[in-house]
């Protein structure tokens, strides 16, 4: 019979309407964002940030439901029934919890339309983030139920919505001067379920959330804290006597103590690199491509140009690579690839425009299949050293493809065309030797002007 009552409550309480309204509000805010979320992890974290809006609404829905007995004037009648209060409120609380979890998951599902690559990497570490987000929604509706029952006024519901919003936006800004977005801010910010990835890429290009994860400890602390809030809310709502109500507050203290013990000193210690995201996975068929998991959705676009690049290199240069490895451009370092590997640097969230066959092929063949030596780049990207360096690398692409060197719109373009012309003026075996020399210099990140190496008349010839 409890199941039957639960069914009635799922239909007749505020739960279904609130779920619809909150999911719609959440999706509105997500789709109002200008740029789509780059990765699953970005979306999952975005939804946790969205809690700032949907948690107060869930709290308000709970309060509205919590006032129902007073609003409907059934208190006297229900008081004469044998079923104790805590048994009476369980189906309602259950229906509200189901609706809260469903709201969270439906919002997430609906938000996937705002995701760049739905087939992108979905790390296992997103699981706890989603589960804890849903748990926070349950905590919100249950705390709302308790507040509604304790303060049964029509004003309670709107006031807790505003108060909840204040608690999630203003309070974090008042606690610490650097706010929740800075890695040095105290780990106590994790008491707030609305997550923000602190800017952990200081000095580097921002990669969003895709390569990070929250430590197990931090997740556990959040989960226990929110569970304590949920349990306290439910107990407070179910309690009939003041003494029991006081006891119902105990889990909050307990949860806070445990969470404080588990939380790290600062947010940088809570957000760590996800080694699984950057780990390479390799294809078993030809061409052999190894790619970080976070970029695995690009694999299909890489296959064709990779095969082509390997065969061109094999036909035109000695000791050519036999496999392609992708490196996340934002995480690039100057580690040189083994001679049998073509190392391709790709931006973590490379746009589809950057992943066309032609552009990929050109990028793979740059410098003879060896990535740029970061140590050789001039201080300024437009300095002459850099321009000459880039021109030499692009001229190699033109030579390998028997075409004009690709144009990137910079001053190196014209230089590359001239260099290719000079190179082609040489005898065929000379051409091959010069390109090989340049490739080998790149493999070792040797110093020296690459354009001279390629076309210089005297010293290197």
């Amino acid at each position: 019979m409890g199941g039957r009552i639960l069914r009635i409550e799922l239909l007749r309480s505020v739960a279904p309407l609130a779920a619809l309204l909150i999911a719609a509000a959440g999706l509105f805010v997500i789709y109002a964002g200008n740029l789509p979320e780059a990765s699953w992890m970005d979306l999952v974290v975005r939804q946790r940030t969205l809690l700032v809006l949907i948690l107060p609404l869930a709290l308000g829905a709970g309060a509205w439901q919590g006032i129902r007995e007073r609003r409907s004037k059934v208190e006297e009648l229900f008081h004469t029934t044998p079923r104790p209060r805590w048994r009476r409120v369980l189906p309602t609380a259950g229906a509200m919890a189901i609706a809260a979890v469903a709201t969270y998951l439906v919002t997430l599902a609906g938000a996937t339309g705002h995701l760049q690559h739905a087939n992108g990497y979905l790390p296992a570490s997103a699981g706890p983030l989603i589960a804890i987000g849903a748990l926070s929604m349950v905590a919100a509706v249950w705390v709302g139920l308790a507040v509604g029952a304790l303060l049964p006024s029509p004003l309670t519901s709107p006031m807790v919505v505003v108060a909840g919003f204040v608690a999630l936006t203003l309070v974090p800004n008042m606690i610490h001067p650097t706010g929740p977005g800075s890695p040095g801010s105290p780990g106590g910010y994790l008491f707030f379920p609305n997550l923000q990835v602190p800017d952990l890429n200081e000095g580097k290009v921002d990669t969003g959330a895709a390569l990070h994860m929250l430590t197990g400890r931090a997740n556990l602390a959040q989960a226990l804290w929110l569970l304590a809030l949920a349990v306290a809310g439910l107990a407070l709502h179910a309690a009939a006597r003041p003494a029991t109500r006081l006891a119902a507050l105990l889990p909050i203290a307990l949860g806070a103590v445990v969470a404080v013990a588990l939380l790290p000193a600062n947010l940088a210690a809570a957000w760590v690199d996800n080694p699984h995201a950057t780990e390479l996975t390799c294809t078993t068929d030809q061409p052999r491509i190894c790619i970080p998991r976070a970029q695995s959705h690009m694999l299909d676009k890489l296959r064709d140009p990779a095969g082509q690049a390997l065969s061109i290199l094999d036909s035109k240069l000695p000791s050519a690579p036999v496999a392609v490895t992708v490196q996340i451009d934002e995480r690039a370092d100057d580690t040189r690839p083994a001679a049998d590997t073509l190392l391709l640097r790709l931006e973590l969230n490379a746009s589809d425009a950057a992943l066309t066959r032609d552009r990929l092929l050109a990028r793979m063949l740059e410098g003879g299949g060896v990535p740029l030596c970061l140590s050789l780049m001039g201080r300024e990207p437009t300095s002459e050293t850099t321009t000459r360096y880039m021109a030499a690398r692009l001229a190699v692409v033109g030579w390998l493809l028997d075409r004009e060197p690709p144009q990137r719109g910079g001053p190196e373009g014209a230089l590359a065309i001239a260099a290719l012309g000079a190179l082609r003026a040489l005898p065929a075996d000379q051409q091959r030797a010069r390109v090989t020399a340049l490739r080998d210099a790149e493999r070792g990140c040797l110093t020296g002007d690459r354009l001279d190496l390629l076309t210089g008349s005297g010293t290197n010839g």
Partner: protein, 268 residues
């Protein structure tokens, strides 16, 4: 209608009266609204009469276990209602229609009665049948699937009666049940009352003396929190005697005559 019968129901009744009050005192706010009331009733339909503020509703609420006695004793189904008693056993056998009957507007009629049946801890298997029977008895079968908020005042009152009888209570308390009912519905309601009264202790609080005269086996008249008169409706009608009292029927004249005599006595 076949239904499972629990052992508690088949056990012989070991108590004397279904409801027994001795020198009962019950507070309503700061006022002692029931003040030294003695009353014993059993199965049957008992019409509770009295002027406004006589303590009718307070008495009903204390029998419904909403209010605890402030003094004296109240014994329900052989159990004394006092401070620490676990009331669940008694409450399973009570049906109560409060004066102000609240309900969940978004529930359907059937869902609401089902919900109350669940609150009364009826065995799950019995609930669907009991709910259907209660709906039929108040004549709401064709509105059973409608939302409560679509019902008229009289229909809401009938839902109130249905929820009160859904658990086949041993004590059925109806506070102003006929308010909002049209004449035909009131006739049907009186018939229902007579039917219930054969094995249930029904207490009906009302201002309508004619309802009492027509449907009750017993009349209880209280004033200022005390019992003034208890007897069969014929006694009430006879009480007027030849006095030219106020009222359009014999029962009404009897009612006002008894009250007048009681008040005269108090003044002396």
């Amino acid at each position: 209608m076949v239904r499972a019968v629990s052992t508690a129901e088949t056990a012989p009744t070991t108590y004397g009266w279904t409801i027994q009050a001795e020198a009962l005192r019950v507070r309503a706010g700061r006022r002692m609204a029931v003040d030294g009331l003695d009353l014993s009733v059993d199965a049957g339909v008992h019409g509770l009469l009295g002027p406004n503020g006589a303590g009718k509703t307070t008495l009903m609420r204390s029998i419904a276990t909403v209010l605890r006695p402030a003094g004296g004793t109240l014994t329900l189904l052989g159990e004394k209602v006092s401070g620490r008693l676990d009331l669940r056993g008694i409450r399973r056998q009570i049906g109560y229609l409060p004066q102000e009957f609240g309900f969940y507007r978004r529930f359907t009629v059937r869902e609401f009665i089902e919900y109350i049946a669940w609150l009364k801890e009826m065995p799950a298997a019995e609930i669907p049948g009991a709910v259907q029977r209660a709906i039929e008895r108040v004549g709401l079968t064709d509105r059973a699937q409608d939302r409560m908020k679509t019902l008229s005042g009289g229909m809401v009152r009938r839902v109130g009666i249905a929820q009160a009888i859904v658990n086949d209570p041993a004590i059925l308390l109806l506070d102003e049940p006929t308010a909002g009912l049209d004449p035909e519905q009131r006739m049907q309601f009186r018939a229902l009352l007579r039917e219930l009264g054969t094995d249930t202790c029904v207490v009906v609080s009302t201002h309508l003396v004619e309802d009492v005269a027509a449907a009750c086996t017993d009349v209880v008249l209280i004033d200022n929190g005390r019992l003034v008169f208890q007897g069969v409706p014929a006694d009430l009608s006879a009480a007027a005697g030849d006095e030219a009292g106020d009222g359009d029927s014999a029962a009404e004249r009897g009612y006002s005559a008894i009250l007048r005599r009681h008040r005269d006595k108090q003044v002396k």
